[in-house]
């Protein structure tokens, strides 16, 4: 990708793949991904510093790479699968991380929460069974001024357990003949 000319203010249409849907956004080349997403109504991606210092704006690229969307131009995100907090789970199907943050009081004002969730998601993709210190290290680029951090670590560990259990159940289901992997239920009446 060539360097983006930030003085070029010609509007152009970017095609972004966000949460599995295709978005066509009119942006200037200098428009940051965070603002393109927010202008598209995805306001769960928060902006706290504009300089990649606080982590409120983290989204995922291609499922497992955390990216601070305030330091990436929208045009640079073309061709990537972008996941925002809105794509993590919905009202009826919270992601284990969302449920865990809620259960463990891993938030207070909630402004840092979408960035925490997305960063934690990226970590668990690569390291499904982290130590507490690994969680702390991985999330140290995400600032929180309210919680005292400890409940965030607990929340990530709760989610990691749930996700490991789910993965294990799926794997088991996949090994048993006659099992439908999509539901994880055994056809042979193993329940």
């Amino acid at each position: 990708m060539t360097a983006t000319d930030t003085t070029d203010t010609t509007l152009r249409t970017v095609t972004l793949n966000v949460n599995g849907q295709t978005l066509h956004q009119q942006v200037e080349p200098r428009t940051l991904l965070a603002y393109a997403l927010r202008d598209a109504g995805l306001k769960g991606t928060h902006v706290g510093c504009d300089t990649s210092s606080c982590g409120c704006c983290v989204v995922l690229l291609d499922g497992d790479t955390p990216a601070k969307s305030c330091t990436m131009f929208a045009v640079q995100a073309e061709g990537h699968q972008i996941t925002t907090v809105e794509g993590l789970g919905g009202p009826g199907n919270l992601h284990p991380l969302q449920q865990a943050f809620w259960d463990q009081h891993g938030l207070q004002c909630g402004y840092c929460t979408p960035g925490m969730l997305m960063t934690a998601k990226a970590m668990l993709e690569h390291n499904p069974d982290p130590t507490d210190q690994e969680v702390r290290e991985f999330l140290s680029g995400n600032l929180c001024r309210c919680t005292g951090y400890n409940n965030i670590v607990k929340a990530v560990q709760q989610a990691a357990r749930v996700m490991r259990d789910e993965a294990q159940a799926q794997a088991l289901a996949g090994m048993v003949p006659g099992t439908d992997p999509s539901t994880g239920t055994a056809g042979g009446g193993a329940q």
């Binding site: 200037e28 928060h46 993590l88 009081h105 001024r145 005292g148 951090y149």
Partner: protein, 719 residues
């Protein structure tokens, strides 16, 4: 209990849906600012509710809605107040819909102002009275509709059950069946006794977490209206600089710019554009000339903040005589200018209708101030409606200057809604700050280890005075800033004590910061108490316990000290290279004691474990209380270990989190919170635990290294 004879209860019937509205405005104590009353009353006994705690409920066939007249900034106030309301209303949490009140509904004299850990403390009784009044009204009406005596009805789960029968009637049905006016009784119904509580004191799901984990909560930064535009406002190059000339320059020709708005007389120059990016990018193209302002540096501020003279705030015994004998100890402490660093910068959306209503969606702790400021500019009689949004942190910053007025000026100019969202640079460099403080302490201990007396000189920049329009001569006549009183006095029993305090108006804006004086003052006093203990050759915990009085304050401090010490294993061996420190404080009616376990590596303090015991009187929500304590401890540790703003040539040097460092997650120690309850009244929970952490850490460092760190942030080996 507050007499209720002056109480006025408003009630009205909505159309169709059987809408019932109850409000309980309490009469005013006309005169001084509420915050002054509050601060002066603090710690002296039970408090009246602040003015006009209007609490509204709506009962419809869909259920009961509670419009909360306080701002949710993460502290869990909506949940705590919903719990209190549900208790007397006899509804389940699920039956209560919790909504933020706007100023049309919830504003009545300033009580929406959310500050000073006052919300639960002030609204605990009025809210229960309002809820109980509603419940009893419904009971009378239910009895009439069912044709049974009201005494036979038991309220539970949003229904009345008839004793001795299987009959029941839901609240909504009662409201729907009501004909004619509701008549509110003059007398307040009996409130439930504590032993009858089903909701207060228990965990309850947070009302705000669902939206927050989904990313759908609306903060000030997220406020949107159709056809809106985005604004950005020019900032002075130095504090106090005046805009002497302004023109649009090339800004009007920048892409996306809709209008350049200049009001040089008001010191205002801004840009409205189609996107935030465009508005911000056009700002430097404005042709502005600023003059004057301060050229002060941090050293100048420190020179101005010098303890040693001022108002005598407390005097008992003969300090001169006390300090003329025994082992005399002297300590001099300083705390720096600090920022709030709430993660959501200031933000507001304003819609100014020409000659008509001004409507604002703002990230504010203080909606009434927004209204007042808008009326100062747009006319005393202008209709203003403020919708407080969720706040991405507040910590006192959002009780001060705000983005709403800027958005309104721009909206008025373009005739469309305009959003202004500050950048982190603006938020760090153009804010007001926790003022620097200086403390000089002298004390003396007897050979038998008793504290003979303490002489205490304190100086600090203005806090409350820094954010109010009170003239300097009035401030000077009073001699102290009420905010500086928090944590100002040693809670120990010893014969001679003299406290002399000095306040200063600084050339840099200063004001409310979480806990006001409690962190700086407690750092100094509890570090000094440690110095005295070591001079007496005593264990710092034992020395504190030995000097606590037999009154309620002493009893409660003893309770939290013993609890924290026991849980932390005070006095038990630690691995090599580690030490513990203890500190305590009494603030806003809440006692807390904290034990920190630390090490020092390469000139850096690492806190490994924190144990804190907190006695906030009555606990409303144990999860919420623990969370507030944990958050306070971490903010205080961050302040103690990292945070310091530097002033150079009249401006703040640090512009973002790369230079203004917060404690990162990797350095955050586990914090164990122990709740100790005493009494039947809830006290402050949002701020008091800001007090003891800094001193506890410094005291641990002394035990470990022998170096007494008397300046924040704590930097071992650098004096």
């Amino acid at each position: 209990m507050k007499p209720v004879t002056r109480r006025r209860v408003l009630i009205g019937l909505g159309s169709g849906a059987g809408l019932l509205v109850v409000g309980v405005p309490l009469a005013l104590n006309a005169g001084r600012p509420a915050i002054v009353d509050y601060i002066e009353e603090n710690g002296t006994g039970p408090q009246d509710a602040p003015r006009n705690p209007d609490l509204w409920f709506e009962v419809t066939p869909a259920g009961v809605t509670f419009f909360v007249p306080k701002i949710e900034m993460g502290q869990g106030i909506h949940t705590a107040l919903a719990q209190i309301a549900a208790e007397e209303l006899e509804v389940t949490p699920e039956q209560l819909t919790v909504r933020q009140a706007d100023t049309a509904r919830g504003y009545a004299g300033g009580t929406m102002f959310t500050f000073g850990s006052t919300s639960v403390k002030a609204l605990y009784r009025p809210l229960r009275e309002a809820a109980a009044t509603l419940r009893e009204l419904l009971r009378e009406e239910a009895a009439r509709q069912l044709g049974v005596p009201a005494t036979r009805l038991t309220a539970a789960g949003g229904s009345f059950f008839v004793a001795g029968s299987r009959e029941r009637i839901g609240y909504a049905q009662v409201v729907a069946g009501k004909q004619g006016e509701w008549v509110i009784p003059e007398a307040t119904p009996a409130l439930k006794a504590r032993r009858e509580f089903k909701r207060i004191g228990r965990a309850m799901p947070r009302t705000d977490f669902r939206d927050k984990v989904l990313g759908t909560a609306t903060y000030g930064y997220d406020a949107r209206l159709p056809g809106m535009l985005f604004g950005a406002v020019a900032r002075p190059p130095r504090f106090g600089a005046r805009l002497v000339s302004a023109s649009a320059g090339a800004a009007g020709r920048q892409p996306g710019v809709v209008r350049v708005v200049i009001d040089a007389g008001a010191g205002f120059a801004g840009v409205v554009a189609r996107t935030r990016t465009q508005a911000r990018a056009a700002l430097p193209s404005l042709d502005l000339r600023w003059e004057g302002g301060t050229t002060a540096s941090s050293a100048d501020l420190d020179a101005q903040i010098q303890a040693g003279s001022g108002s005598v705030l407390r005097r008992r015994g003969n300090v001169r005589a006390a300090l003329s004998g025994g082992t005399v100890v002297q300590g001099e402490y300083r705390t720096p200018l600090a920022a709030h660093a709430h993660l959501e910068p200031l933000a507001a959306l304003a819609d100014v209708k020409a000659g008509g209503r001004i409507e604002v969606w703002a990230s504010t702790q203080y909606p009434q101030m927004v209204i007042d400021d808008l009326r100062d500019v747009f006319g005393k009689d202008r209709e203003v409606l403020v919708h407080p949004t969720q706040l991405g942190g507040g910590f006192g910053r959002k009780a001060g200057q705000h983005a709403a007025l800027e958005a309104a000026r721009l909206s008025a100019a373009v005739g469309k809604p305009v959003h202004v969202g500050w950048t982190r640079e603006e938020d760090l460099q153009h804010a007001f700050y926790r003022p620097p403080t200086h403390h000089v302490l002298r004390g003396s201990v007897d050979p038998d280890g008793r504290l003979r007396g303490v002489e205490q000189f304190t100086a600090g920049g203005d806090i409350i005075w820094g954010q109010t329009g009170i003239p300097e001569f009035v401030r000077d006549a009073l001699g102290f800033d009420p905010g500086g009183l928090l944590g100002q006095f040693m809670p120990y029993d010893f014969p001679a004590y003299r406290v002399v305090n000095r306040r200063e108006a600084l050339p840099v804006p200063t004001g409310y910061w979480r806990g006001l004086g409690v962190l700086p003052n407690t750092f100094a006093l509890e570090s000094f108490m440690d110095e005295l203990a070591h001079a007496a050759g005593a264990d710092p915990l034992a020395f504190r316990l030995q000097h606590l009085g037999s009154g309620e304050d002493g009893r409660r401090l003893r309770g939290v000290l013993e609890r924290a010490a026991q849980a932390a294993g005070w006095g038990t061996p630690l691995p090599a290279g580690r030490a513990r420190g203890v500190a305590c404080c009494l603030d806003l009616g809440t006692a807390s004691a904290l034990v920190a376990e630390v090490s020092v590596q390469e000139g850096r303090v690492q806190v490994h474990r924190v144990t804190v015991a907190v006695d906030p009187g009555l606990v409303i929500n144990p999860d919420g209380a623990r969370l507030q304590a944990q958050g306070s401890v971490m903010m205080a540790l961050s302040s103690a270990l990292h945070e310091e703003l530097t002033i150079q040539d009249g401006r703040v040097v640090e512009s973002n989190f790369d230079r203004y460092r917060l404690l990162p997650m990797r350095d955050a120690p586990p914090v164990e919170v122990l709740l100790v309850e005493s009494g039947d009244e809830p006290q402050g929970m949002g701020e008091p635990v800001m007090g003891p952490a800094a001193a506890a850490v410094a005291n641990a460092v002394f035990t470990l290294t022998g170096e007494r760190l008397r300046t924040l942030p704590l930097r071992p080996g650098q004096g």
